[in-house]
């Protein structure tokens, strides 16, 4: 292929997710009509509520932040050839740990407590990813079922710990120390008054940049991608495939664990049971739509966040669950289009 052909191929592949989105919206229109509402009006309402004001934008970005984390987690794992379906459980464990450490270290100064809280969230989540990782590395057990099982176990486990950790008669932990709190945008950008959008968004963007750097600039990233593309070739080249898998899955978990930064440290100030329902699974959709690339993940995260918040905006007209359906349908369209475009491109060369 000549140079112009390669860029047009890349553009086509990037267009796939966009088309998937459009198709999903079309299907959504069908659902809206089925409940007797006008799709155009509903979509227009959604758009204005989401993008028309600073509060809406703030909400979208706030919701996008955890999706960036879980999207990066799933994308990084995919790059190593692994399916991390356990982000849901990893992020809960991570957020819980952040809540506990943040509260326990109340007395510590921010310069110590902040990184400590962040790191404990990452570490706890990484540890939660370790059992499926080791089962894969040592025994070759497929990580799909194991990570899903860990999700259920995580929810039960945190609920159990809640008996001791939750404030009496609540489902949340004690408040974290001021030193662990992440500042909200509203404190320096008055336009975002009332919005929970906080600086963990910056952490998320930095994380995306770091993941990109890791994958394409470092030797470890070179190895990780090789393992994902061809484990047999990687073995031949002397790469320790099981070790790479383990590290990749744990890093993936750590990324998911940063979700706590957004909710626990940036928003509520404590860990609350049930805060995160679905973010881990949505991370899969984000990673797929973003083609497992950090930039794509950020864009896809914003999109899914917009859709999610949009659902709330139109909730009085159409059940917000419609949005959940759309988010999932986008996955199906995206993977189908990916294959169709690939095959079309191959036929042309």
């Amino acid at each position: 292929m000549t140079e112009p052909r390669r860029t047009s191929a890349a553009l086509l592949q990037a267009a796939g997710p966009l088309v998937a989105v459009v198709l999903a919206l079309v299907v959504g229109a069908g659902f809206i009509a089925a409940v007797g509402k006008d799709p155009f009006a509903v979509y227009a309402h959604m758009a204005s509520g989401v993008f028309g004001n600073a509060y809406g934008i703030g909400q979208v970005l706030f919701r996008a932040t955890p999706l960036i984390f879980t999207g990066l987690a799933v994308a990084l794992a995919f790059r190593a050839g692994l399916f991390n379906i356990g982000a849901e459980g990893q992020l809960v464990i991570g957020a819980f740990a952040a809540g506990i450490v943040g509260a326990a270290g109340k007395a510590l100064p921010g310069v110590v407590l902040m990184p400590l809280t962040l790191l404990s969230g990452m570490a706890a989540a990484a540890l939660w990813a370790l059992p499926p990782a080791l089962l894969k590395a040592k025994l070759g057990a497929h990580e799909v079922i194991n990570t899903i099982m860990m999700n259920f176990i995580a929810l039960a486990f945190v609920q159990y710990l809640g008996h001791f950790a939750f404030v009496h008669a609540t489902v949340h932990t004690a408040e974290i120390g001021a030193g662990a709190r992440i500042a909200r945008f509203e404190s320096f950008l008055p336009g975002f008054r009332g919005s929970p959008l906080n600086l963990s968004l910056v952490i998320a963007l930095v994380a995306a940049a770091l993941v990109g750097w890791l994958l394409w600039r470092t030797k470890f990233g070179y190895e990780l991608r090789a393992v994902g593309l061809s484990p047999t070739a990687a073995e031949y080249a002397g790469i320790d495939v099981p070790r790479t898998w383990t590290i990749a899955l744990c890093l993936s978990g750590a990324l998911a664990g940063l979700v706590g930064a957004n909710f626990v440290q940036g928003y509520k100030g404590y860990f609350e049971s049930g805060f995160s329902a679905g973010i881990g699974f949505l991370g899969i959709a984000v990673a797929l739509l973003g083609r497992n690339h950090p930039v794509g993940v950020v864009i896809a995260a914003v999109f899914f966040a917009a859709l999610g918040y949009g659902g709330l905006v139109i909730n009085t007209e159409v059940p917000k669950e419609l949005v959940e359906i759309l988010q999932a349908i986008v996955i199906l369209f995206a993977i189908t289009l990916h294959v169709v475009i690939e095959r079309w491109l191959r036929r042309r060369t």
Binding site: E235, A237, G238
Partner: protein, 508 residues
Amino acid sequence: MGERVLAVELEGIAKAFGSCIANDGVSLRVEQGSIHALVGENGAGKTTLMKILFGLYQPDAGTIRLHGQAVRLRTPADALARGIGMVHQHFMLVRPFTVAENLTLAHEHTRGPFLDTRRAVAEVRALSERHGLKVDSEAKVENLSVGEQQRVEILKALYHGAKILILDEPTAVLTPQETEDLFRVLRALKAQGTTIILITHKLREVLEVADHVTVMRGGKTVGERRTGDTSIAELAELMVGRPVLLEVPKAPAQPGQPVLEIGALEVLDARGLPAVRGLSLTVRAGEIVGIAGVEGNGQAELVEALTGLRRWSAGDARLHGVSLKGLAPRAIAGKGVGHVPADRWQRGLVLDYTLEDNLIFGRHREPEFGRGVTFDRPAVRAFADRLLRAFDIRPPEREARARQLSGGNQQKVIVAREFSKEGDLLLAAHPTRGIDLGAIEFIHRAVVKSRDAGRAVLLVSAELGELLSLADRIVVMYEGQIAFEAMAHATNERELGEYMTGRQRATA
């Protein structure tokens, strides 16, 4: 000259896959009741043409005539119904099923809604006896030897009433003796009136068993001959389009110090069974030792053991006196051992990586390519450019992925990478399998050059011709041990073949 009845006549067949033209107006005329060879390099379009004849592909243009009648073969079922059977290079057998199940598949005998296994077994048994192709109809295919599996494939075609039998590279996996057996079967079938089309690149066999031969090159027919009227040299020249060097020019070897010393090595295979059973071998600097043998006699396990991909259970292998036992692939590669793997797609390359990234694959941790955590991209690029030039690798574009290269160029990338390592030992397994003659010549010359530079080369190959011309010393591996050893110029294909099948054992 009497009336020639043509069993098969293909005229003006065209087939393209995207922008790749596999068949460009090909014609083929096969006489009824003859054995007709179809030869050409890899990628010449022979298999595509036959897959069209078998109904697996649809031609973009052209006509197919069977016994003078124009036909359309939309699916393999059509072809089977018209008496065309095909024995594929990679057997079309379901390994966990029995022979009877494989043969009756898609035309099962039933009793009510259920499978009638007994009848299937009996029928297959009768058929196998009728044609003298001994197989146990109740055996599971995965437990059969390669030669037996091929017999099952032939039987399957006959079971479906094939009068025109296509065989795609049938001898690629057989020993010389099994090849003789196959030819005997083919001649017997021919006597019964079966028409046989043989796809092969082994010109010697063409002259031995075929009556006619058609040569293809670049998707076109470039020659048709009676085998009695032609020679290997002429056929090779037609195949490649220029006179072909069939012998590798090389000076006599000057073996130096032992580089690799293998002593009583024992290696288990993936199933835990002994694959290498007490093998001892020494390879010296400046010599090429070739390992001959039918695949499955431990060669793969031997190479894997020597490169750290498989543990061994007893014995030792030393590189310059230092044991390689328990070393990981990275450590062994770090000693400069080059390894051209048998499977270039699964092992040797990451197809979606660029050429550059593939050229440092396995060496990527070396400080030359970047200290610390990241790569020194300019250094990598310079290195890659140097290798591309030295090994005459021409990618369609600078940033091409390995997937976009031809098979020959892909193999050259691997060879370039491994041969350029600054070590003393080179392990090459089937380095020229499935690539065009031009690349084969290049790689052969590169191997000789490495040897003359003082390297010790261990070459595993299934092509006896290649071994005889390239290696200085040849050993035959049979059932995990060395069955025979000789200087290359002192032996021949027949002798090697005898030991490859265990028909003879070297006396001490």
